[in-house]
């Protein structure tokens, strides 16, 4: 019997090729996207599970004080001062360890590289069971010994024994290799970032005890520095859980958090280790992985609905077969089984195709993102089969029900008429499809427009024309900054050269609390600080609206710490928020900063710069003040003329090597700095657009199916109308109207949903596109037009049939 069902299923698929292809294609698409989303989510959610103790390890996060106004709710780290006090107070905890990132110029043999290193507490090795190839857990116990990764050892020492070899940081600090660990798999928070460029693999581990010596940073007593990725890990004994740990944190916060830090972090939270890799999304407030899962499911639902619709429409042509089977004694259950087996067979074929698609896409995805997704057939097969089974069952249930419930007589007569209820149900299904797909489409358009605005706003700086040189803020390099300037200015096509502590689009905020009243900082205002030379405003073409630019010839324009006073520039908004009536009124006035032990610094405003969004992206224009401090420049900006040849970068590198032979050049166009962050938004657009495209395509197929079905139903009505004098055009209009009603009432619902979602997205940006109504309307109209095009062919075909055929149909 079962074989007979499968045989009939395959034959019926072969017989109705068009329907079968549409069905299988739709399900393949739905399954591919759903499974891919699932694999990806599963991959992201199961990071670090290969560590023996992963389920007992937690990270401590900072809860951002809403009053801090930085637009995010959490950070994935806490100041490094937290760990020592937790260790002292919580005896139950098995191990606590911190890691802190730093970039260094690393010298091995005679070569110099910039490398991201991690300072780590020795207990890190108790928490994570790294596999030691050479050496053991004692490797971090003395402050000059370090651990390197296997691939790092291979890269720099080849087959030689790396143990005891020396690595020098910043040409100054010698460290010797104590141990080599096996490279971690890609699916660990140590090695995976959201984007390849944010990924910082675990290559060099340096004992925390060496940190103060090497960097002046005091990890055990620092309560002010927080930076993404500098995690504090806590391992609990098996008898304690996350809630216990969470319950201990408020007490520690109350007892130890310095008062001035509480305005930034209002508390501490715990997270299981397996969440560590997805922390970035939580920080931004975009639950990307959840969104991907939901969208994947939506597309799969759309594909299921499609099958249901088409299969029901198609079953009309098979009522004769059903009637015959019933007359011959087939029971309702048997018929139900037959049709469900048919849909499951279709789904299985789609599953095989979907797996093929995934096997093609996954390697491409992996090489583009540096992830290592894969289908593990051994463990995933039951899941895959179950998915197909459920999809087949869900998609096939309704058509099976409809067709098997008919009485044999009416089935044999093939009256082709079903009650209103059936059409109503299927029209609602179409509506659901269009709600999803038009909704996603509208969101795409809004996201796209907003991104375009971000990109357009970024044009205020000539980012394609500015080449930047990074990492100039090293003591040994500082005294040659001016040499570099002079040499580079001699290169043809170089128009300007400027030094600054940061360049546009870099998402770094260095703040001071500024007050106009000496000794009263209760109403102080947050000012972003940017250290610049006298060329910065010129190079970035920022007009001076009042006063003058800073000058290298005026002594007070250059900051010298001992002076406790310096002349500064502010931007217009800074002048306004601190209370000056106009930009001109601000010139010559002063404001103060309380630097604690170092006393109070007086800033005298000598000029006001026009407002420019230096941070760009989603930020508002912030109050900034600018001053010249020669020892603080990290980046050099070089403005090239528009017709500059590509060789100019070679010339710059040549000059660099002459001036700083010991340091590799870190050069890139300003545009790349912009793209680093902008990419995240583009990623959002392109992945959403993909979903929208698939969803719309599937929904259109579904509508085509419904139109085909309704057309069948309506031949008689159309015959009557024609006999009564309706013209072809009138009929086509009527049909298109009727076929697209579900779409018409789905549209407002879809637009409502996407209005809500888009607003949520836009909230991230300070400078948002005004009102997304036009965009939403466009998506709605787009959906309706697509639906009309889809049903038009059907409408034309039926409208053209001779009415006689329809009228004698019975």
């Amino acid at each position: 019997m079962f074989q007979n069902h499968v045989k009939i299923a395959i034959r019926s698929i072969l017989k109705n090729k068009l329907y079968a292809i549409i069905n299988i294609l739709g399900l393949t698409m739905g399954l591919s996207i759903y499974l891919f989303g699932g694999l990806m989510a599963n991959y992201e959610y199961t990071h670090d599970t290969f560590f023996k103790n992963y389920d007992r390890v937690y990270t401590i996060r900072g809860e951002v004080n809403p009053l801090a106004g930085i637009g995010i709710g959490q950070v994935d780290n806490v100041p490094s001062g937290v760990a020592p006090v937790m260790k002292a107070e919580l005896e139950e905890v098995e191990a606590i360890a911190r890691t802190i990132f730093r970039d260094f110029l690393v010298s091995i043999n005679e070569d110099n590289y910039y490398e991201n290193v991690r300072f780590a507490d020795a207990e890190l090795l108790d928490i994570f069971d790294f596999e030691f190839i050479i050496g053991d857990k004692s490797a971090l116990s003395n402050s000059t010994g370090i651990i390197i990764s296997e691939s790092y050892a291979k890269k720099f020492f080849g087959d030689q024994d790396p143990i005891g070899k020396t690595i020098t940081l910043d040409h100054e600090h010698d460290l010797s290799i104590n141990a080599v660990i096996r490279d971690l798999p890609q699916n660990s928070h140590f090695s995976s970032g959201v984007l390849p460029m944010l990924t910082r693999p675990l290559n060099i581990i340096i004992p925390m005890s060496a940190m103060e010596r090497i960097t002046d940073f005091q990890p055990d007593t620092n309560w002010t520095s927080t930076s993404t990725g500098n995690l504090t890990y806590v391992m609990l004994p098996e008898t304690l859980d996350q809630q216990w740990l969470q319950d201990q944190l408020p007490g520690i916060y109350e007892r130890h958090f310095p008062e001035e830090q509480r305005s930034f972090l209002s508390g501490m939270l715990t997270r299981p280790l397996i969440d560590a890799n997805t922390a970035l999304w939580d920080t931004i407030g975009l639950p990307v992985i959840t969104i991907i899962e939901i969208l994947g499911l939506m597309v799969l639902i759309i594909a299921c609905v499609n099958y249901t619709n088409l299969a029901t429409a198609q079953s009309m042509g098979r009522s004769r077969e059903v009637g015959l089977r019933k007359t011959l004694g087939a029971g309702r259950t048997q018929l139900l089984t037959q049709f469900i087996i048919e849909s499951i067979t279709t789904t299985m074929i789609a599953l095989v195709l979907a797996i093929t698609v995934l096997e093609i896409i996954i390697p491409l995805f992996n090489s583009a993102t540096g992830k290592i997704l894969s289908i593990d057939y051994l463990s995933d097969l039951p899941m895959l089969l179950a998915t197909a089974l459920i999809v087949g069952l869900v998609a096939g249930a309704y058509p099976a029900y409809v067709i098997s419930k008919e009485s044999p007589i009416s089935a044999l007569r093939d009256s082709g008429r079903k009650g209103r209820g059936a059409v109503w149900i299927r029209a609602s299904m179409i509506a659901v499809q269009f709600i999803f797909s038009v909704g996603i489409l509208a969101a795409v358009l809004v996201v796209y427009e907003q991104n375009k605005k971000v990109e357009e706003n970024s044009q205020i700086f000539p980012k394609e024309q500015v080449f930047t040189l990074d990492r100039l803020n090293v003591e040994q390099m500082e005294d040659r900054h001016e040499v570099l300037r002079n040499e580079i200015m001699n290169i043809p096509y170089v128009e300007q050269f400027s030094l600054s502590s940061q360049v546009p689009y870099e998402q770094t905020n260095t703040n001071i609390k500024a007050s106009r009243v000496l000794n009263d900082f209760s109403a102080a205002i947050n000012f972003n600080q940017l250290n610049i030379d006298d060329q910065f405003a010129v190079l970035y073409d920022i007009p001076i609206v009042a006063g003058r630019n800073i000058s290298r010839d005026i002594a007070m324009d250059t900051h010298i710490r001992e002076n406790k006073a310096v002349n500064v520039l502010v931007n217009e908004i800074a002048a306004k928020v601190i209370g000056f009536e106009s930009s001109a009124a601000a010139v010559g006035q002063v404001f103060y900063e309380d630097e604690g032990d170092r006393g109070i610094t007086t800033y005298t405003i000598v000029g006001v710069l026009e407002d420019r969004n230096i941070l760009g992206m989603f930020n508002d224009v912030k109050p900034f003040f600018f001053f010249k401090r020669d020892a603080s420049y990290r980046v050099a900006s070089i403005k090239l003329s528009k017709n500059a040849s590509f060789d100019v970068v070679d010339d710059i590198e040549e000059v660099w090597t002459e001036v700083y032979p010991d340091y590799p050049m870190q050069g890139k166009y300003l545009n790349e700095t912009f793209q680093m962050v902008y990419m995240l938004f583009e990623l959002a657009t392109s992945s959403l657009a993909t979903f929208a495209l698939f969803a719309l395509f599937l929904a259109a197929i579904g509508l085509f199916g419904l139109a085909a079905y309704m057309a069948e139903q309506k031949t008689r009505e159309i015959g009557i109308r024609k006999v009564l004098g309706a013209s072809n055009n009138q009929i086509i209009r009527l049909l298109i109207w009727q076929f697209s009603t579900p779409v018409l009432w789905a549209t407002p619902i879809a637009l409502g949903l996407s209005y809500y979602a888009s607003n949520k997205y836009l909230e991230i940006f300070a400078d948002r596109i005004s009102l997304p109504y036009g965009m939403l309307l466009a998506a709605g109209i787009g959906g309706i037009v697509i639906s009309w095009l889809t049903v038009a062919t059907q409408a034309f075909t039926i409208a053209k049939t001779n009415p006689v055929n329809a009228l004698y149909h019975e």
Partner: protein
């Protein structure tokens, strides 16, 4: 009213040619009541469809009000059809989703008639066929006779000068059949030309002329005294 001259209708498939009507010559005057009879498959319905301009002849001439419409396109035929011809079918062919009133009104919707006018005319014709009390009912709530009365009303509401009826009583019991025939007779007395296909000799007796078809030929024509 109309004149068929050497009319031929042949259906061609890949292998065989079937001649449904062979050299048919018929003339029907305005105001006549003609019955077409004959065994199943003799070409009655084909003839009616061609007269009703739902189908086109393979050769020959069809003069409708002195205009040869044999070579007209479907759209041209449609225009003439909606002005002059009303149809009544054996299976009523009402639209299930529309009420009695709406079904009748449908015939006027394609005639550029203002809504108030339409309402008046539909009400008048419903009174005439005695279905006014059922105006808001759906076809499924009516008996067969009532449904056919709605169909008759629909056929004449546009002031059509000719009604083509294809076995109008075929699905009705004797009493209801009688009722419909009397209604047609009344319409004929008021001046409407009626052409009716029927199997029933007693219903054919309502007509003044009977045309007998066999295998696509007109075999006899008889006039009632």
């Amino acid at each position: 009213m109309l004149k068929l001259q050497d009319l031929v209708k042949a259906y061609r498939t890949d292998e065989v040619e079937t001649v449904a009507l062979n050299n048919v010559n018929i003339e029907i005057e305005t105001g006549e009541f003609v019955a077409i009879m004959g065994p199943s498959g003799c070409g009655k319905s084909t003839l009616l469809n061609i007269i009703g301009m739902l189908d086109t002849p393979s050769s020959g001439h069809y003069f409708f009000k002195d205009e040869d419409v044999a070579g007209y396109s479907e759209a041209q035929l449609g225009v003439i059809r909606k002005q002059h011809i009303g149809f009544i079918f054996q299976s009523f062919n009402l639209i299930d989703e529309l009420s009695v009133f709406e079904n009748i009104e449908l015939a006027l919707l394609y005639h550029d008639i203002p809504a108030s006018d339409r309402k008046e005319r539909v009400n008048a014709v419903m009174d005439k066929v005695g279905i006014a009390h059922r105006a808001k009912h759906m076809p499924s709530q009516l008996s067969g006779g009532q449904q056919q009365r709605v169909a008759v009303a629909r056929a004449v509401v546009g002031n059509q000068s000719m009604i083509l009826a294809d076995e109008p009583t075929g699905n009705l019991d004797t009493a209801h059949g009688q009722e419909v025939m009397e209604m047609l007779q009344k319409l004929n007395e008021e001046g409407t030309t009626i052409v009716m296909v029927t199997h029933s000799p007693s219903h054919a007796d309502y007509a003044r002329r009977t045309i007998n078809l066999l295998d696509g030929h007109v075999v006899t024509e008889s006039m009632r005294a």
